[in-house]
């Protein structure tokens, strides 16, 4: 037991301790090289510790409790892996200009992100969440351009408003539960007499971070201006924090709320389709990817809505959401990192690079034998209309396939815009390493990482072949549509 | 009894005249004279009223004597002051001279800050 406590503590203390490196200017090069090392203890904890690891910190804030459970383990692994890959990439990517400041804000955001995943008491969860949000601002405005400052202001304004909503929601929930632990909140919120207000506040508060429609404005502004490793982490791991916030505080499995479920499903649908419609018109690759994140989060919101609507499906849906989060995080991370890669000189090298860039995209839209396929199948298997009775239940399959088409469209749009934007030249070795790590973990490592057990994916080779057609037709449809659009643009 | 009242009333009259003169007259010496008039008036009242059932009462006599001594001392002091005041400022009344007499002091430091 002692080892797990130490590892959990180390996961947070190591990044915070690395801040000492910022004290003297001439240590900044050493700081830069130790960036990738910081998430290692967290990754180790994620991989080795069982779901019941916990660390009691009575003195901390209002009585601290850190630990893991099934869901948190997946989030921890995703966050640690993504920060590791982005860290390696950042070592190559970073210029000397304001390096120390970037490293400081990078470590603070990392500490916040890791902390909120393993925090199980309300005070430290909220503290780490705030630390991640405010430090994230440092990454967004790092370039210092006018556009970056504007994006930073919007990000901060919405983040602070979100924080306040979360604070009020948590206050009312804790007051109802009169215990400081997150585990007791869902039950308390379920029977709270002002349940609708608490749920509205929590949904809105975390929704700002998760990019719900009408609360997503900061996302497409912040991602393009942030440095590439930062936007990779921002879109891969930090957005998921909002989702995690929902999962640990809202009353899943306590009471089934078809009304709320329906609202969330609508929002999810609007998010996924709207994201695609808006994303396609953008010229900058990172903006397109940002909208793709919004549309993917829309799908996840769909699942959260479903979980809310039907109490006894909450458990399995949690597992599928965990799977989907893992898949999307890694894929989106590698896509973002690829935006900064320059094409090698040789023709064959270029073709190889394009294939490697396209693969995570295709996996996103559910190409068989990829992580996307596994998560899409798991999602389809669970989101059958007859399981749920809220208004939009019958349209679930249609929504999911429309989502898949939308994702593929965005991927094509991204590839098309990336072709025009990318330059040729050789990349520093660390950028290759970082991007490679992200792509491999997205494509290959996915199958070996600890999934949630209940994700009911039957023997993956058999199911892939059997339902291949249900996975492939949206991809083909999207490819046809984008080919037609590409030719019409060519003529003009 | 009536003679005592007569003296008392005479005293009161004297005080009245003296008081009127004291307030009305501007010249300092005249004021001083008026003051002496009031003094005598008071002493007259004192003697007049102080009859103890017929026999002469020694106490008021003693008091009047002391009163007269004090009045003389006060008058002497007043005359000296008025003479010195006349010598210094040529004024015989208490009226303030026209200009404000505080000249900004130039020379040596004076204890009182008043012009030396």
């Amino acid at each position: 037991m002692f080892a797990s406590n130490l590892l959990l503590l180390l996961a947070i203390i190591l990044p915070l301790a690395s801040l000492l490196l910022a004290l003297r200017p001439d240590w900044q090069q050493a700081y830069r090289y130790c960036l990738p090392v910081l998430p290692l203890p967290a990754l180790l904890a994620g991989l080795t510790l069982g779901p019941d690891a916990s660390l009691e910190l009575p003195g901390l804030l209002l009585g601290g409790l850190w630990g893991l459970n099934e869901l948190r383990q997946v989030f921890l692994v995703l966050t640690a892996t993504l920060w590791l890959a982005a860290g390696v990439f950042a070592v190559g990517y970073l210029k000397v200009h304001y390096l120390r400041r970037f490293c400081v804000f990078w470590t603070l955001t990392l500490a916040g992100n890791l902390g909120l995943v393993i925090a199980q008491d309300v005070a430290s969860f909220y503290s780490f969440f705030a630390l991640m949000t405010f430090a994230g601002y440092g990454l967004v405005v790092h370039e210092g351009s006018k556009e970056a400052n504007r994006a930073g202001r919007v990000y901060l304004a919405m983040a602070v408003a979100g924080e306040m909503a979360i604070l009020t929601g948590l206050l009312m929930a804790v007051q109802q539960a009169d215990s400081g632990l997150l585990a007791d909140l869902p039950a308390a919120v379920a029977q709270a007499d002002r349940r609708w207000l608490i749920m509205f506040l929590l949904l809105a508060g975390f929704g700002v971070k998760a990019g719900l429609p009408l609360l997503h404005f900061w996302l497409p502004l912040a991602h393009p201006v942030a440095p590439t490793p930062a936007s990779a982490v921002l879109s891969g791991a930090m957005i998921k924090a909002g989702l995690l916030g929902w999962l640990v505080t809202l009353p899943f499995g306590e009471v089934s709320l078809p009304g709320w479920g329906n609202v969330l499903v609508i929002l999810g649908a609007v998010g996924s389709l709207g994201g695609a419609v808006l994303g396609v018109r953008h010229r900058r690759p990172k903006a397109v990817l940002a909208y793709s994140s919004i549309s993917q989060m829309g799908l996840m919101t769909l699942m959260v809505g479903a979980a809310l609507a039907n109490a006894e499906y909450a458990g399995p849906l949690f597992a599928v959401i965990g799977l989907y989060v893992l898949h999307h995080g890694l894929a989106k991370g590698s896509l973002f990192l690829s935006t900064a890669m320059a094409l090698p000189a040789g023709r064959s090298g270029q073709w190889l690079l394009w294939v490697l860039v396209a693969l995570p995209g295709l996996s996103l839209s559910g190409l068989p034998y990829t992580s996307g396929a596994a998560s899409k199948l798991a999602m389809k298997e669970l989101l059958k209309p007859e399981n749920f009775e809220f208004a939009l239940a019958p349209y679930l399959p249609a929504l999911m396939s429309a989502g898949a088409v939308a994702t593929m469209l965005l991927v094509w749009r991204f590839l098309w815009v990336q072709r025009t934007a990318v330059g040729t030249g050789n990349n520093p070795v660390f950028m290759w390493l970082g991007w490679g790590l992200a792509t491999i973990s997205s494509l290959v490592l996915f199958w070996f990482l600890p999934w949630p057990r209940e994700a009911s994916v039957p023997g993956w080779p058999g199911s892939m072949v059997h339902s291949a057609w249900s996975l492939v037709w949206p991809i083909l449809l999207a490819t046809i549509i984008s080919a037609v659009a590409w030719r019409s643009v060519k003529q003009r | 009894m009536t003679s005592a009242l007569l003296y008392a009333f005479a005293g009161v009259a004297l005080c009245g005249i003296g008081l009127f003169g004291f307030l009305r007259l501007q010249h300092l010496l005249r004021k001083l004279m008026a003051f002496n008039l009031i003094g005598s008036g008071v002493f007259l009242i004192m003697v007049g009223l102080a009859q103890r059932n017929g026999q002469p009462d020694p106490v008021p006599q003693a008091l009047v004597l002391t009163g007269i001594v004090v009045a003389i001392a006060a008058t002497a002091l007043a005359v000296v002051l008025i003479r010195r005041y006349y010598h210094l400022s040529g004024q015989t009344t208490l009226a303030e001279p026209a200009r404000e007499n505080v000249r900004p002091k130039a020379r040596a430091v004076n204890r009182e800050g008043a012009p030396e």
């Binding site: 901390l60 602070v160 306040m164 | -």
Partner: protein
């Protein structure tokens, strides 16, 4: 047994004697003056520490003698007084260190430090006062000892600020004296007694007592900078930085708030004040001050004036905390007395550093200051986030406790006030942080001074860092026995239990 009588007197005497000695010192005796200052401050912290330990064990410290027929001078150390005494003793040491560095080569230093320690002596007196008469005695001494500090610079602006300060505080003092005399006439000499006196008063007395309460709130509200009487605080910012740091973060402003706590807790008693309907009005005034202070702070261009208006709004948290009636909410208000002191003094120290080292007074001159003075800017950032209430800093603990206290009592609008004020705090602090860290320095500093390797003189740099660390620790260890929060809960437990 006489030790327990003499302890509060010793605590008071340290700074009184120090001030007498400092006044007598010749202007050139800098080294000796610093030694005396630091020795007195350390001695005071030791004494207060011993008393805190004693009070925690429950033993009584009290010294009293009859000063006038029917009225006595009482010095008493109880839990509540130790909260305020501990805060002022600790921050006095840091501010003395800061002041020594700040007034490096300015004139009138023996006068400054004399009145400086006199001011802390009166703050200690206010903390230790055992009855309303002694409290008033030190309350007025505080006014007199702070006037020369406010007008220390001798410029016309400083003198006008001093004049306003005197007009406000002396009028407030006169109103308070009227109320205390009337109360004394009604019910005789009242010692501060946990739980208060008026829980079961005759209805006939209810009228005059209500009027007396309002008068006291006016008298104390002047120093606690409640809205209609806060005018003097922003103007008093012309004083040198250590003065505005100690005065407006610890001594003067807190004296008013502490007085309100004493009156509501230990004269009227919480229940009596509640069912006489007095706290409702007070909470509305406090809430309005919080919002008003923050909105006014938004429009200030001068850094110290913005901090001053922020003080106006933050002090009313304490008053609002009182009106929450529930034990949790009141503990939140009490603990904010300490937290606000630590946070605000950090911000004032940093503002003083910027003014002293870079000659920067306005906010728009702060671009790129983070790069030039990283230590001070980190302390300022921590202070700013503390004020906004971002966890895990001390400010969050206050807002969290007060929020849950308000919900427990059903006063939901208080949570709304807290949220709005936090948003406003963010609105006027975050732009400053943006300028500090992310803005490029366009024009050179007005008049910069160099201290070799360090960004500014060691005397000026260490205090803000220490107070920032204190604030972080106060937030992180809020649950340990001797943290401000648990001490506040101890006080409330003793108050409400009776």
């Amino acid at each position: 047994m006489n030790l327990s009588v003499l302890m509060p007197v010793f605590a008071l005497m340290t700074s009184l004697l120090a001030s007498v000695v400092l006044f007598a010192l010749p202007e050139k005796g800098h080294r000796l003056r610093t030694i005396i200052n630091l020795a007195a401050a350390i001695l005071k912290i030791a004494l207060v520490g011993v008393m805190i330990w004693g009070v925690a064990q429950g033993c009584k410290y009290e010294a009293a003698f009859t000063m006038l027929p029917g009225v006595e001078f009482v010095l008493r150390a109880d839990a509540l007084s130790m909260l305020f005494a501990g805060l002022s003793a600790l921050l006095w040491l840091l501010t003395t260190i800061y002041a020594v560095g700040y007034l490096e080569d300015s004139p009138n230093r023996s006068r400054f430090f004399g009145f400086f320690s006199l001011c802390v002596a009166s703050t200690m007196g206010i903390a230790l006062a055992g009855n309303l008469f002694t409290f008033f005695l030190f309350y007025e001494m505080l006014t007199l000892s702070t006037y020369p500090l406010v007008v220390h610079r001798g410029t016309t602006k400083a003198l006008r600020a001093g004049r306003n300060y005197i007009i406000y505080t002396l009028t407030g003092g006169a109103v308070l004296l009227f109320a205390i005399a009337w109360l004394h006439g009604l019910v005789g000499d009242l010692r501060f007694q946990e739980g208060g006196y008026f829980s079961d008063i005759a209805p006939s007395m209810r009228g005059p007592l209500a009027i007396i309460f309002v008068l006291m709130m006016v008298g104390l509200g002047v120093k606690a900078a409640l809205v209609p009487f806060h005018g003097w605080l922003p103007q008093a910012m012309v004083a040198p930085a250590p003065v505005s740091a100690l005065l407006h973060a610890v001594a003067v402003v807190k004296a008013g708030a502490f007085g309100i706590i004493r009156v509501v807790f230990e004269i009227y008693g919480l229940e009596a004040a509640k069912d006489m309907g007095l706290l409702a009005g007070l909470s509305v005034v406090a809430a309005f001050t919080i919002i008003y202070g923050s909105t006014r702070a938004l429009y200030q261009v001068d850094l110290k004036r913005r901090l001053a208006f922020s003080t106006v709004s933050q002090v009313s948290y304490i008053v609002l905390g009182l009106c929450l009636l529930g034990p949790v909410g009141v503990a939140g208000g009490l603990v904010h007395l300490v937290h606000q002191g630590i946070m605000k003094i950090t911000l004032f120290f940093c503002a003083g550093n910027y003014a002293e080292t870079l000659g920067v007074h306005r906010i728009d001159e702060l671009d790129g200051a983070g790069k030039r003075m990283p230590g001070t800017s980190v302390a300022f950032t921590l202070g700013a986030f503390g004020m906004i209430g971002a966890p895990p800093l001390a400010g969050f603990i206050t807002k969290w406790t007060m929020g849950s206290g308000a919900l427990a009592v059903g006063m939901d609008w208080v949570v709304a006030v807290l949220v709005i004020s936090s948003l406003l705090n963010a609105a006027y602090f975050l732009p400053i942080l943006h300028r500090l860290w992310f803005a490029e320095q366009c024009e050179p500093w007005p008049h910069e001074r160099r201290w070799g390797r360090l960004e500014t003189s060691a005397w000026l740099l260490w205090p803000p860092l220490i107070t920032a660390a204190l604030m972080l620790v106060a937030g992180l260890i809020a649950n340990l026995p001797f943290s401000p929060l648990s001490w506040a809960e101890l006080i409330v437990a003793r108050e409400v239990a009776l």
